[in-house]
């Protein structure tokens, strides 16, 4: 009876395992690459701090050099913090799925898929917010 049941149950077979492992590898690459890119961007921003501050204060009257740069850094750090949260879920999901396939651990697979689901859920919510804001701007024009 049990044998019959397992025949009709879905499994993470060889083909599915390969797809999941490859997905996890690419997802890991994307997450790590994005972290590095964000770090480099921040470093470049800090390296060109004086130039950016000067340009900002000359274009926007009434804005002090340090104030303008502070606002830019604040906004960028806020955006990067949100992106980092999403990327952490992607990285966690990828690591757990890879581990689950390698060690054949059911719980890791569930946790990995849960993290991936959270990644897409946050992505989806942010995409909806962005879309609504875009629509508002379009209507206001």
């Amino acid at each position: 009876m049990e044998e019959n049941q397992s025949v009709f149950e879905l499994q993470v077979d060889q083909e599915a395992s390969k797809s999941l492992i490859d997905s996890a590898r690419w997802a890991r690459f994307i997450a790590i690459f994005c972290f590095i890119a964000m770090g480099c961007f921040l470093l470049i921003l800090i390296a060109f701090q004086t130039r950016i501050s000067y340009t900002l204060s000359s274009y926007i009257p009434g804005m002090s050099e340090s104030g303008g740069f502070g606002v830019i850094i604040g906004v960028i750090i806020f955006v990067f913090a949100i992106i980092s949260v999403i990327l952490v879920f992607l990285l966690r999901g990828a690591n757990l799925i890879k581990k689950a396939i390698e060690t054949r651990n059911q719980q890791d697979l569930i946790e990995g898929l849960r993290s991936l689901k959270t990644y897409f859920a946050i992505y989806g919510v942010l995409a909806i917010i962005g879309l609504v804001m875009n629509l508002i701007v379009l209507i206001a024009k």
Partner: protein, 145 residues
């Protein structure tokens, strides 16, 4: 021998109720992402083709708002559409596979997820290469001055 045992279906991970629940949730959220992406694509196309040249003023600061580059908009729309299509395939086939207990559909769905992440990764590599080349050109031009 041990390798053979490990490869046999007996030792495969099972798609149990918990896993199915996660896969269904994943399928639902990816579909939401796909729908949002498609609406955004249509909006960006509408914006690109209907944009007018405007002057932005802030105090004494004046700036000509340029028309968006139609070429770059079309390229980004094509890339996003390909990604959205793969995610859609994943969403539909995974849900179908889990609901109908169909192994081929589930495999097809997971394969689409692999293609999605692979294309995403390759696009990131291409974009970074373009940025690097642009930075090198700007840097070398500045050094020659």
């Amino acid at each position: 021998m041990e390798q053979q045992n490990q490869d046999s279906p007996l030792f495969d991970l099972q798609v149990d109720e918990n896993t199915k629940e996660q896969l269904r949730g994943l399928s639902k959220w990816t579909l939401i992402v796909v729908v949002t992406s498609i609406i955004s694509l249509v909006l960006s196309l509408v914006q690109a083709f209907t944009a007018k040249r405007e002057t932005v003023e802030y105090g004494s600061f004046r700036m000509q708002d340029k028309n968006p580059n139609i070429g770059s908009v079309i390229v980004s729309v094509i890339v996003s559409a390909i990604l959205a299509y793969m995610l859609y395939q994943f969403s539909v086939f995974t849900k179908k596979g889990v609901d109908n207990m169909s192994q081929p559909d589930l495999n097809k769905g997971l394969n689409s997820l692999r293609s999605y992440f692979m294309v995403y990764g390759i696009i990131i590599i291409i974009v970074m290469a373009i940025i690097l080349v642009a930075l090198l050109i700007v840097g070398s031009t500045a050094a020659l001055r």
